[in-house]
């Protein structure tokens, strides 16, 4: 790079401005998320068991939405969340029934198996694009369900597995509160890793691939490796969520944990909140999941229709989701403010 010296004397005006600007958005997000985390914890500590259950399903929804968005960020539409969630649930359940491991111990094999599964399916299908990748991941989730159903020697087949084990917790607390705290801790890890990914060099690889694979490759970005990274990280967290879920729900069978619904609701939350943003999937899940919970009591399985309608309305009227709407509003406000003080530019 020595040859650059000739040009580099007046350098650093633009590059410094860029460096200073770089983490502004994620810092703002982290500040707000910090406050939100405290609020969630206070909610968990004060709520009654029914509201703790609502809180747990909302935390799980947030985890699923953010991890789905990680994959979507690198330009891949995944319908494979159920594969990782179900497998994580079985690893969590079986490591208790077969090995007598508690919840925290079972998170380790769940994470590892999640990554290994993602590597296997990734190697096969990561080159597929758009709908083809979605179909491949969907088929993979179905194949896993059938596999678990058939391997009845290990998994009990259609009879399912019962996990009656109070999760370990340092202080006296109800099992539900413990589960709430563990889901919250997992969500914290998911969010922090997501922020890190978007501040790191991988952020540029993800965005570049999402916009043009040819231009990304000619810029030196390995499309396969970049996608495998987001796919594996996402799968690891989803499998861990599945393991916690198995200890929460206490009984799992292949149909319930390998449900297509797991994959689909993650997409709905993320799209409703705003894809490819830090806050969007969190906001979408936090808004829709409690509503869905209430609707399920009132409407039963028909509650999914409401989700479908929400998704359609979002795509038609606010394609950027809630966060996109927010951006539009702030842009319009700052434009109005900007026209009064022209000194800025």
């Amino acid at each position: 790079m020595a040859a650059a010296a000739k040009h580099s004397d007046p350098v650093t005006k633009i590059s410094q401005a860029w460096m200073q600007n770089r983490s502004r958005k994620s810092n703002l997000f982290l500040a707000i998320w910090g406050i939100a985390s405290v609020a969630i914890l206070v909610y968990g500590l004060t709520a009654n068991p029914y509201y703790i259950r609502i809180g747990i399903s909302t935390l799980l929804a947030m985890i699923l939405a953010v991890t789905w968005d990680m994959v979507s960020y690198s330009g891949q539409l995944s319908l494979g969340h159920a594969a990782f969630f179900g497998t994580g649930a079985y690893v969590g359940a079986l490591s208790f029934t077969k090995l007598n491991w508690n919840l925290l111990l079972s998170l380790i094999p769940a994470a590892i198996i999640g990554i290994v599964l993602a590597l296997i399916i990734g190697r096969i299908s990561i080159r597929l694009q758009g709908a083809y990748f979605a179909i491949a991941t969907f088929a993979f989730a179905e194949a896993m369900r059938v596999l678990v159903l058939l391997a009845s020697g290990l998994t009990n087949g259609p009879l399912g597995v019962t996990v009656l084990d109070a999760p370990p917790f340092p202080v006296q607390a109800s099992p539900q509160l413990a589960i709430f705290v563990y889901f919250l801790l997992l969500l914290e890890a998911v969010v922090l890793v997501n922020v890190w990914l978007r501040k790191s060099r991988w952020n540029f690889a993800f965005r570049a691939i999402g916009e043009s694979e040819v231009a990304a490759a000619t810029s030196g970005v390995s499309i396969r490796n970049t996608r495998l990274i987001s796919f594996c990280i996402s799968a690891m967290f989803v499998a861990m969520a599945g393991a916690i879920y198995s200890h929460y729900i206490t009984y799992i069978d292949p149909t319930s944990v390998y449900s297509v619904q797991t994959s689909v609701v993650a997409i709905i939350y993320a799209v409703f909140g705003g894809v490819n943003t830090l806050a969007g999937p969190l906001v979408g899940a936090a808004m829709l999941s409690p509503i869905g919970e209430a609707l399920r009591v009132a409407l039963g399985p028909a509650s999914l229709l409401v989700y479908g309608a929400a998704l359609l309305l979002t795509i038609i009227f606010i394609p950027g989701g809630i966060m996109g709407l927010l951006d539009m509003v702030t842009a319009r406000l700052s434009k109005r403010a900007g026209s009064k003080q022209l000194g800025e530019r």
Partner: protein, 254 residues
Amino acid sequence: MESDNKLAGSPSTPVLIVQDIRQRFGGLVALDGVGFEVSPGEVLGIIGPNGAGKTTLFRIIAGEQVPWQGSITLKGQRITGLPTHTIRRMGIAVTHQIEDAFKSMSVFDNVMVAALFGAEQSIPFEVAAEHVEVALQTTGLTTRYADRVMDLNVVDRKRVELARAIVNRPAVLMLDELFSGINLEMVRPLARAIMDISNMGTAVIIVEHLMGIVRALCPRIIMLSEGRLLTQGTPAEVFRDPRVITSYLGEAHA
């Protein structure tokens, strides 16, 4: 007139050696044994009528296609058949005929992608940002660094593509019809940027339809026709060759 290309121009060892490249698509032979060498800092023009195999050759060198036969050696290392991103990291950067960018990203971020991933060693953000700024200066984009590429005109998009290609100071820079669709007053600044880059030691390969530009920029020209290397030499030599005139203008004018 039959000059040996190893001796033509610079005495230094070639940075890129292309040997006996053959490519066929079904029954069609696109390239039928093409070979050439380029030295550091040299500017080489590749010309030929439509269907001569220029784009196929370009894609093979960039790693976007695997040749049926033949070998490509960069800085003494065989790179034939390696994936595109690896070849870029090893030092061959390209711009495409139809400019292709990360359209909703800013100009600065577009070049940043290549600054971070286009080199063999990973570098910290501060250093990468400085490289980006140098590339933006060379290509005349400093005033537009914060704009999104989708808001730029064609010339500026081509500059973005050029900036993305040169930001890591590649050993070889290949330009596929960079000048097509650009009005004449914009040709000069782009051409000057290319001369600057070659003066810093990068070998430049220009695939171009516009003969005026090839004549002005390239001390050496290779002419492809029907997948073969028809002739090569200085612009004066090549454009005097009756076979070149025939293949461009048809038999009647020869």
